[in-house]
Symmetry: C2
Amino acid sequence: MKRRVTIKDVANEAGVSTAAVSLVLHARFDEDGNPDCRIGKETAAKILEAIDRLHYIPSGAAAQISNGRSGNIGVITADISSNFFSDICRHIENMAFDAGYNTLFASTDEKPERLEKVIYSMIRLGVDGLIIVPPSTDASALEALEDRDIPVVFLERDIPDYQGASRLLLDNAEACRLAVNELYDEGYRRIEHLSFDMDISTIKEKESGYFHEMEKLGLSSLAKTRKVSQNVTMAELMEVISQAKTEGTEAFFIPTNRLTIQTITALAKLGLNVPDDIAIVGFDRHKFFDVYTPYISHIYQDTKELAGRSFDMLVDMIENKAPGRLEMLKPQLIKGGSSIKKSL
Amino acid sequence: MKRRVTIKDVANEAGVSTAAVSLVLHARFDEDGNPDCRIGKETAAKILEAIDRLHYIPSGAAAQISNGRSGNIGVITADISSNFFSDICRHIENMAFDAGYNTLFASTDEKPERLEKVIYSMIRLGVDGLIIVPPSTDASALEALEDRDIPVVFLERDIPDYQGASRLLLDNAEACRLAVNELYDEGYRRIEHLSFDMDISTIKEKESGYFHEMEKLGLSSLAKTRKVSQNVTMAELMEVISQAKTEGTEAFFIPTNRLTIQTITALAKLGLNVPDDIAIVGFDRHKFFDVYTPYISHIYQDTKELAGRSFDMLVDMIENKAPGRLEMLKPQLIKGGSSIKKSL
DNA sequence: TTGAAAGCGCTACCAG
DNA sequence: CTGGTAGCGCTTTCAA
């Protein structure tokens, strides 16, 4: 069995103390090879050589235990295999890498009870901070984080009861305004809201935003929401849609990306045309939109911006002990053929 | 500043030694509440209570440092935001979770030089084993793993020069046979191979497999491969395709998922029809296929099986010191409308 | 400019 | 059945 190469081995090899090695390990060097710490240039060079020769890689665990910082940040989303979230994860991974952090990912599967377990794992592993897309508005799973003063950024969705976190949220009222008005302006009236039945801040905001807009347009009497379970089967969704079609629905505002895709699929299977049979404004972009005809009109939030700003907020909290703050992201409407004027 | 709750605090709170706490922490309990270690039922209960009261979470770092095992496995893929890989990651995450392992993810972006950095990070963090989708056939980035005898499983692609790893690979010769023959049987003759220009074992195997099949069918004179950079732009791809169309290409066998999607997109933008203008057999499934018409014929490898078998192989190596072994996965042809008989 | 040594939280061995 | 204690690899103070 091979033994781990430790800092001691390096110290021996270079004929110095472990302290010197540690110092050099964390030093930055100027162009002459001088470290920015109290170690001579020659000594430092000897040490670097020894590190190289022995293929030494310091143990993060040992470092973590002795100085309290892990250099890890955790990212908890609903599902890392979903398009929208894995995109965000990827951007965070890149930024974190450049900033010298490691990124740990985990998925909740939208199950509140998994959040607690995942947080437990992350704390066990050691994280300096966490970016979380909460699967519900329930704050109880975060107790362990509060206990430990671990900085948290809520991304895209909020847990209003949890104190001290930062938040990066989409202006959902504005998103609803854009979506509903787009359909209205193109001549649709029986505009319905189709969404998942979930206890998530954004889902709720979008629903009330929708009703609010319909009211402003004087369409309260036509306003209607249809909700499906997040595990909805294709057959069930098709049933819901044909039911709607029978009742005269003209357009759907679908405020989640996954359901947008599923609905398009269901419409295709039902042989219904977009937008002639049902017009659509969806939410978030999907690679898939590029190939589908007509192009799906959607509310767009830039994943790169989402990732970048949430990461910056987190690092600010970790490194500068910045207090939690709230930031809003402005949604954009991307127009496509799925919401163009009804041909009568 | 709040202080970490440690095993000592728990020991004090319960009035026992840290050793007792550690034992209880790792014990399993039968239905009577008896731990499977030499600790009395009452003592154990007291300890569990203390753990609960103090919201104690053990430090993985400290555990790792004292017993050498991290309980982590690493999964390195090309890009965690790609459909195919994130699917695999998700399945591994679930299995690992159930088996008591944590999963660490990282992406190489198909850049060989990033593999080395990512492996460095993983070793730093501590991993008991690694599942790797290599970005090239170059073994040099894995030196650090060899040094440390860290078990490795290559998934889907191989690095033939690296000794001692396990491998779970697709039978690419069979995949090519299925794909080319499907097109041949449907009446296509000018079947071309469209792929990325990359130094990856599977890409090369698929290319030679394609030529081999064309030869067996007596179509050597028509066999042709077109290669594009993995960063190909839509404009470039469209150019390649219209060029091919001009030259009389009837069908493409596209042995990577991403390029399959990109090609479909390009065809749509060029106003070319599938399969009448160009027939297609792609590789790997994409959610997107469900909505696209015609359904894209493709070679299918089950991500869940890929994930499950590679994870099992890895755990076997970690826990039973099993030697590296090679396993093959049989591809399947899923028939869709994208390869049906040419209408003359 | 450098080294010695005291912990960090935990496990595992050994003595009771 | 239980507790004391010596490390694990690293960082960081304190002395030299």
